[in-house]
Subunit: 335 residues, 2 copies
């Protein structure tokens, strides 16, 4: 990406091993993330392009001398953050704060260097042409991020939940809340094709209204109280304000949309008076893959249904455009 | 209180029962709260004074026809919020959001009307001249509030904790963190007499520096990472900024100082990037009295040590002045 709206496909040198803990992975599937749209809207023009893409699965091609957990030829998925899976933060399940971690760039490509390969890569027991690839790819980010939202939102049996946003993460937050036993899941979104999928994922109610009107609708649906958990999967200020408007006293606002603001209301009238908790952040998806993988492999959940368009690597710029125009929910890239 | 700095002692009509669920309590001990200092600094002048005081213990004098849980002559303590102790929020332990609740005013007085007496009043098994009265009075607010901070901060064995503020609530947050088994408790405060009491309550380290320098000190003490829990017992923006500066990735900022600001930094660089949770609010102290009372009765904790001055009711304005000038930590009123 060279600037807002300017995504190009270029020939670059092949990735090489640099550290003995590295691997090189040939990418089999990658995709465009909702968070890629933020720089797509606002990135300043630059002379050197930024390599894009942090979600991928692929086949291990080369291994550094210290890598022992995966082998050449293994099909693997990588979380969007690499991590050693052994530091104090990783042991606490906070791989996004790993002392040796970092965020991938350049996953929308033919191959990629993976630092901390042993801590990062998870072997997938399927073939390279498995029909499960789209769902398995969501373990790299969006499914784990939806799970993170629901988990930090303390969703469980008896919980009422509002999900703000009908993008891929919002829909997978619905699926995650349903999987954790939520009693009621209100999905706020305006795109019928998306909210229809949300209903299939477990949404019990859909609220298409936004702003004050949307808040009013959720309050009506909940006897005036709001919901125990609000999973905010957008990242813009109006979504935050809606979250504050629909959360129940004592409830939790769990944010996984990357905030496009720095300051927000947190005082007596917004969070404090009602003992509302604000939580969330980049999802340590590596911590969740072991838990989420079996349901995907056995077909009990199909998070890959969020992909509604597939492009080749050369068509990646068109994939960005389609997502930006809401013509596509989430674009799969098959290099 | 008629305005900032203007506290008067006046004769007013005796409180009367209004509802069958009311009681009238003759006040034996009350006190001045740190939160009373906020209007003491900023309240606009008004013609009718606002009755002050929300912490009291006393003797039941009159009972409405529907009150059955306490009797005339019982010594009782009241949480600073009255509540029915039976609505859906009370059953969840969130008495501050009780459907029939409200905040007391007029506890700095000889007597007070107590709505929802059955839900609100807790009988104290001691005599009216017990030496335990100061500690028992802290159950009305400050001890329960310190406990709330530590509880929402998920303090437990192995937890590292920073407490911001050496007022009564901050010191009782230290005591609460210690009682819950915190591994390390760093108290940020500048008043040696107070931080000395904080050490007796369990603080392992004291940081007198403020602002950037204070943040730096706490980071030095924690190998650069900050602490798992930050208990913020002040309510001003610099305290919030310090909290953001000293919290560990994945940690919790638990606020019990009433925020004197509405907006604050919550974006990627402050809370989101490190998966930091922001929680807190008015403490539902009624929910905690049953748990906290035994240790007080048996002398295992002495939260009443935060009172370092006692005045008669007529001297209440002087009590405000002393607390405002930091000459007194917390002022007990013996009408």
């Amino acid at each position: 990406m060279y600037g807002a709206g300017d995504v190009r496909v270029e020939e670059v040198p092949d990735p090489q091993l640099r550290e003995p803990t590295d691997a090189v992975v040939r990418i089999v599937r990658s995709c465009v993330c909702g968070s890629d749209l933020h720089p797509y809207h606002s990135m300043k023009r630059r002379d050197r392009g930024a390599p894009m893409g942090h979600e991928f699965l692929g086949v291990v091609e080369e291994l550094g001398s210290e890598v022992s957990g995966v082998r050449r030829g293994d099909l693997v998925v990588a979380p969007f953050v690499w991590s050693d899976n052994s530091c104090v933060f990783c042991r606490e399940g906070l791989h996004t704060s790993c002392r040796r971690g970092g965020v991938f760039g350049g996953g929308q490509a033919e191959a990629i260097r993976v630092p901390q390969a042993d801590g990062t890569l998870v072997r997938l027991p399927v073939a390279e042409d498995s029909a499960l690839l789209p769902s398995l790819l969501t373990l790299a980010d969006v499914y784990g991020t939806g799970h993170h939202a629901a988990r930090l939102g303390r969703v469980g049996p008896g919980t009422t939940v509002t999900v703000i946003g009908d993008g891929a993460v919002g829909l997978l937050a619905v699926l995650s809340a349903q999987r954790m036993g939520a009693e009621r899941i209100i999905l706020m979104g305006r795109h019928t094709s998306r909210t229809d999928l949300g209903r299939e994922f477990g949404a019990t109610d859909v609220v298409a209204e936004r702003g004050e009107e949307g808040v009013e609708r959720v309050r009506e649906l909940t006897g005036g109280d709001g919901t125990h958990a609000v999973l905010e999967a957008v990242g813009h200020m109006p979504a935050y304000e809606t979250a504050v408007g629909v959360v129940r006293p004592g409830g939790v606002i769990s944010r996984v949309g990357v905030p496009q603001y720095e300051s927000a209301p947190v005082g007596f009238g917004s969070l404090f008076g009602g003992n509302v908790t604000l939580t969330g952040g980049p999802a340590p998806v590596r911590a969740y893959i072991d838990e989420l993988l079996p349901d995907v492999l056995e077909g009990r959940v199909e998070p890959g249904r969020v992909f509604d368009r597939t492009v080749g690597l050369d068509e990646t710029p068109e994939g960005y455009r389609a997502m930006d125009r809401r013509e596509a929910l989430k674009v799969l890239i098959a290099p």
